[in-house]
């Protein structure tokens, strides 16, 4: 065959490599790496200030002699870097070092670990690797069998959910059993070879093999690579760079130079960390905005940004799936087996409940997927064991243009007359409404005549642990006291007295009194009954003998649980726990109304405590009760069998909405065909077919389908200078700071963890990478064509 047309460069004159043989090149490189180690260790001592005169002296002597050496042998050094063999060996050593980096368990680049903790991970990882290395084929893995009981479960699953899903369960069960066996064997190996592993560990730690990427010898290798590429990139003279033959070589090597320069710039100047924010102003852990972020290198020392970052919106959206569970007694025996999850997609069909021929009796088909829906309860009148009276209402807000709508879950809901916790609260806290069933006018007057004794709720005191704990409960009004006596001597008699009630406690507004250390809550000009109770809290003083202590207790969460042991360690009186149950009806509010549902179906409304205020309510007519927005009763039924979901699709454009995902399903089986609307909202997410198959529509999973934050950057005057949305794969850059969507929590839907990166080397690195690609494409794809054409001409 002929001379290769695709060759990027012609074979070089053999004389070039003559001065550096393979062995001398290797020795030279190793010497260079050793020198790098030495320089770095001396430089570190000099920088830390612990160096004595001797070290300073040798450093100066070294610098001088290095300078002299460079002056005398500069061209030789240049020839070393430009040597083909040195270059090739550098690439080979780089590859070998990278192999070490994956074959030896590496320490975390950012968080340092104690040697013993890291050893446990190291020993496991190395053993796991060797185990698999010696068992390269599947048949060498431990053999396992499915226990008969589980086999029964799989058979049951085949009957109910079909062959495919049963087989999938068998496979995953076999895999996990086999993996358990494997882990046992790995653990046994690890124990057996522990002494050897420890020696290997000590060696790897001493030679920096557990932190290859941060080692000095690897840094020296990088420097050598840079020197080699730089000295070669611009050889042959500038005229040669733009010839057909050498252009690719020149471009690709220039790319590598740019890339390495960018990496160096990044490594010297980069700042990397995270800022944890919440959209909830009352959040107890995270603020809504911050000028600081915590660097990974040392999270205890926050770094400042040139602006304030505010989390304006955040939402994580999860995938939706269907789950079918059987309600017969046999199914209960297999309840431990999680029913399969069917991903909801339009047109998807899920067969269920197989007969003896292996054909499904029931089919669920997804007719429609509604990514964003307003869900209103649709009362279906009728009798039955679960029947109850229902009043449906609508609350409409008339918002001034440009204002933010309230995210209030109960805007279109229902009231169950007689249920104490079935209450509508005006979003601006203008009033509350509950409903009552009344036989006649006298009862109406009596219900409205009951005076409401205002109180924040109930205070619970728990003294002692476990079985012996003593629990006392009492009114949480300011000034009220509660006495609890523990069974043992410690802590004896406890008195708890409520000092303050705050409807909306703000963690970001805490100030402490410099003299007493007591938390001062912000002075709110609004009267207490006008404040929106989104984080009700009590300040409680507890006394045990001579000791007294002040604690805050919250209705929305158990601070003792969330704040953990650090927080509990600060208690002066241990063994005492406080709880606060907020009263949804009697806690301070501007006005309370009662809807009165009479036997004959007539509906009235009146102000609680004012029997004379009663008036009749007409369905569909707005009630004027004060506050913004109007409250209208839309339906009232004496007996409702169940509540169906009335789905009203909304345009899906806006991501940060709080509306529900929903689906319309068609279920076909022995009991006929049914079309059902289900929404991912409690109460609207389940349908029972034929009295024996429960079908659930759920939103969730370990991983969100999509999550986004809207960020705003504000200057010192509080003006928004920049901002935008971020999601995984889509960051925001402001003044060189890049913000990444990094963390979320399924439990805390308001929290967003935002990665912060400041790295001025990135543009250079990206430019370098693009340049290398361009060089490679030219050298391999374009040049052969050009050369062939040139040859033909």
């Amino acid at each position: 065959m002929t001379e290769n047309p695709t060759s990027p460069t012609p074979p070089p004159p053999a004389a070039q490599a003559a001065s550096w043989g393979w062995r001398s090149a290797l020795l030279g490189i190793l010497g260079f790496l050793l020198l790098g180690e030495g320089i770095a260790s001396v430089a570190r001592r000099l920088a830390s200030g612990s160096a004595g005169v001797g070290v300073w002296g040798s450093a100066v002597v070294f610098l001088v002699s290095a300078g002299v050496f460079l002056g005398l042998h500069g061209p030789r050094l240049f020839a070393f870097f430009r040597s083909v063999r040195v270059g090739a060996l550098t690439i080979a050593l780089y590859a070998a070092s990278s192999c070490l980096g994956v074959l030896v368990k590496q320490r975390d680049l950012y968080s340092p670990e104690r040697a013993e903790d890291f050893y446990a991970k190291f020993a496991y990882a190395q053993t796991y690797f060797v185990y698999h290395l010696l068992r390269p084929f599947p048949f060498m893995m431990p053999r396992v069998e499915i226990p008969p009981r589980a086999e029964e479960g799989i058979e049951w699953r085949r009957e109910r959910y079909g062959k495919g899903l049963a087989e999938a369960q068998r496979k995953s069960m076999l895999a996990s059993l086999s993996s358990m066996e494997k882990e046992k064997e790995v653990a046994a190996w690890q124990e057996h070879y522990d002494p050897l592993l420890r020696k290997f560990f000590a060696f790897c730690e001493a030679s920096d093999l557990t932190r290859v990427w941060k080692s000095d010898w690897f840094a020296a290798l990088n420097a050598l690579l840079f020197a080699c590429v730089l000295s070669n990139a611009f050889r042959f003279g500038w005229r040669a760079w733009f010839t057909k033959r050498r252009f690719g070589f020149f471009v690709a090597h220039t790319g590598v130079v740019l890339l390495l320069l960018g990496c160096l710039l990044g490594r010297t100047l980069e700042k990397r960390g995270r800022v944890d924010l919440s959209t909830d102003p009352a959040h107890m852990r995270y603020p809504t905005e911050s000028k600081w972020f915590r660097p990974f290198k040392d999270p205890t020392k926050p770094l400042e940004m040139p602006f304030t970052l505010r989390l304006e919106e955040f939402k994580a959206e999860y995938r939706t799936y269907l789950q079918a569970h059987f309600l017969d007694p046999e199914a209960r025996r297999h309840a431990a087996v999680k029913p399969p999850e069917f991903l909801v997609r339009k047109g998807a069909e899920f067969p269920l409940d197989y007969d003896e021929h292996g054909d499904p009796r029931v089919r669920i088909r997804v007719k429609e997927v509604l990514p964003r829906c307003e869900v209103r309860p649709d009362p279906i009148p009728g009798g039955g064991p679960d029947a109850s009276p229902v009043i449906a209402y609508e609350f409409e807000e008339h918002l001034p243009e440009g204002s933010e709508p309230h995210h209030h879950p109960g805007l279109h809901w229902i009231l169950f007359p007689g249920h104490d916790d079935s209450i509508f609260s005006h979003p601006d806290h203008a009033y509350r409404i509950r409903a009552a069933l009344v036989p006649d006018a006298a009862a109406m007057a009596r219900v409205l005549g009951e005076t409401v004794e205002e109180t924040p709720g109930r205070l619970l005191v728990e003294v002692g642990e476990g079985e012996e704990a003593v629990r006392e409960e009492g009114d949480a009004r300011v000034g009220a006291s509660l006495v609890a006596r523990a069974a043992g001597d410690e802590p004896g008699e406890i008195t708890a007295r409520v000092l303050t009630y705050v409807p909306a406690f703000r963690f970001d507004r805490i100030e402490r009194d410099p003299d007493t250390g007591r938390i001062r809550t912000e002075e709110d000009p609004e009267p207490i009954e006008r404040r929106i109770p989104n984080n009700p809290a009590l300040e409680v003083e507890i006394k045990s003998g001579e000791t007294s202590e002040i604690r805050w207790v919250f209705a929305n969460f158990d601070i003792d649980e969330i704040a953990g042991s650090q927080h509990r360690a600060r208690w002066k009186i241990p063994g005492v726990r406080l709880r606060f149950r907020w009263d949804r009806w009697r806690s301070p509010v501007a006005a309370r109304y009662v809807l009165l549902f009479r036997e004959d179906g007539a509906l009235f409304v009146g102000k609680a405590g004012e029997p004379d205020s009663v008036r009749q309510v007409r369905i569909g007519e707005p009630l004027s009760l004060g506050g913004e927005g109007s409250f209208t009763v839309t339906e009232a039924h004496r007996s409702v069998a169940r509540l169906a979901a009335d789905l009203r699709p909304l345009p899906a454009g806006e991501f940060f909405h709080r509306d529900a995902q929903a689906a319309v399903l068609e279920i076909e089986g022995p009991a006929g065909k049914e079309t059902v609307s289900l929404a991912a909202l409690p109460g609207f997410d389940e349908f029972v077919y034929d009295g024996r198959i429960g079908i659930r529509f759920l939103e969730g999973g370990a991983m969100p389908r999509e999550w986004r934050s809207r960020l705003g950057c504000y200057d010192e005057k509080g003006e928004r200078i920049d901002g935008g949305e971020i999601r995984v794969n889509d960051y925001l850059e402001v003044k060189g700071y890049r913000f990444f969507q990094e963390n979320a929590s399924a439990q805390d839907t308001t929290y967003s963890g935002i990665g912060v990166v400041f790295d001025p080397g990135i543009p250079l690195v990206l430019l370098g990478l693009y340049t290398i690609i361009a060089g490679a494409v030219y050298a391999f794809f374009v040049k052969p064509v050009l050369l062939r054409r040139g040859g033909a001409a």
Binding site: M1, P12, A14, V84, G87, A88, A95, S98, V102, L103, Q106, L109, A125, Y128, F129, H132, L133, P138, A168, K171, S172, A175, W213, C263, R272, R274, R285, S290, W292, F296, P299, P302, L343, R345, F507, D508, I562, A563, H567, A702, M703, P704, E706, W707, V728, N729, R738, F740, Q741, E742, N743, A744, G755, V757, V765, L766, L769, I773, A776, F780
Partner: protein, 373 residues
């Protein structure tokens, strides 16, 4: 017909095509000794090529169905990656076939193209059996980390490069197999070299799935040819050919490898805030890239040709194997961010070195450093 059914069909076509390709290969090889075999050899080759084409088509359509079914680029689950990888492998075979005009070869060299096809079809059939046994085929929604415009080009470029470089690897493998056979039958190859080649071909390790069948076929063919009195002299003419052939395939694959590898960095820069995080998958890919880079430099600057350069190319191929197959077991892979295909469905979008939120306390909050202590 759906994606699963068509993939199953691909499996059956490959199962039928593999023996036809092998028969074609053997007939072509032996036609050196018996010219009468030329006709059946051509027939077998045609049947094998048609079945290979059908397999490519079935696999491709199956992939398209899968794409439609899942609604995203089908490279998420292990099953999808296998489906996509096998298709690209077949497609690249036809590209190489066309670009290098393999159909024009006659005699033993034509046998080689059949041997390639046999390796591919048998490999795909074997993979399909593996898929039937262990891999979960259920489609899943794309996690946010994979919802990027880099996802299709990154994966596709790497697949194309891995496929072409695997073909180059097989070329080296065939060469070394014949070389080994010659050493066995005729001698003249140094003991150390024989040991090295023998270990490479027959060592019972991950790569043995490909190496051993190819080596056995080649050694068998060489044995028969040797017995029929043809000797091994014909191998001399092949040496330059193999080196050149494998380089040309490499020259197609390497730019794709470079682009695919770097696209990973562009993507990581947008998703994980770092273009390079020393993640074990990244490092495995870097090692592969460096080995091919070394091959390139030594071939053109230090003038390495023939056996030496093919040995390097083979090491690159083994490295692809390790990146692709052994990766999950590497000590450093336990917390890799690239483990999407392992069935774990925990959110792994965190940046490297992410830290836990601090323990909260009802003390002044730490949004300002002054209050932190």
């Amino acid at each position: 017909m759906n994606a699963d059914g068509l993939f199953e069909a691909t499996f059956w076509i490959c199962l039928l095509g593999a023996p036809a390709a092998l028969a074609g290969a053997l007939a072509h090889f032996f036609s050196v000794a018996r010219p009468g075999l030329e006709r059946p050899a051509r027939r077998f080759s045609l049947v094998a090529a048609l079945l290979g084409g059908a397999a490519t088509l079935a696999d491709g359509v199956s992939l398209a169905f899968r794409w439609k079914e899942t609604g995203h680029w089908p490279s998420q689950t292990l099953f999808e990656v296998i489906q996509f990888g096998t298709f690209v492998l077949l497609l690249c075979y036809w590209i190489v076939f066309g670009v290098l005009r393999l159909h024009a070869y006659r005699g033993a060299l034509r046998g080689l193209t059949n041997l390639f096809l046999f390796t591919l079809l048998a490999g795909i059939a074997g993979t399909a059996v593996y898929v039937r046994g262990v891999v979960n085929r259920a489609p899943d929604t794309l996690p946010p980390a994979l919802q990027s415009y880099w996802f299709p080009p990154h994966i596709s470029a790497l697949m194309v490069s891995y496929a072409t470089l695997t073909i180059a690897y097989v070329a080296c493998l065939v060469y070394f197999s014949f070389r080994f056979a010659r050493g066995v039958f005729e001698g003249g190859v140094g003991r150390a070299r024989m040991l090295a080649i023998g270990t490479f071909l027959f060592f019972p390790w991950f790569q043995a799935v490909v190496n051993v069948p190819v080596a056995l076929v080649c050694v068998g063919v060489a044995a028969v040819l040797y017995r029929t009195g043809k000797g091994m002299g014909w191998l001399d003419g092949w040496m330059q050919g193999f080196d050149d052939f494998s380089f040309r395939i490499f020259a197609i694959g390497f730019p794709f490898l470079t682009a695919g590898f770097f696209m990973g960095a562009f993507w990581a820069q947008e998703a994980w805030a770092t273009y390079w995080g020393w993640d074990s998958k990244e490092v495995s890919a870097l090692i592969t890239w460096l080995l091919y880079l070394l091959y390139l430099h030594l071939r053109f600057v230090a003038g390495w040709r023939g056996e030496k350069s093919m040995a390097l190319l083979s090491i690159g191929g083994v490295s692809i194997f390790i990146t692709f197959q052994l990766f999950g077991y590497l000590p450093e892979s336990q917390n890799s961010l690239h483990k999407y295909t392992e069935g774990s469905d925990s959110a792994r979008e965190g940046m490297l070195g992410s830290i836990q939120p601090e323990t909260p306390a009802l003390a002044p909050r730490s949004d300002q450093p002054a209050k932190n202590d």
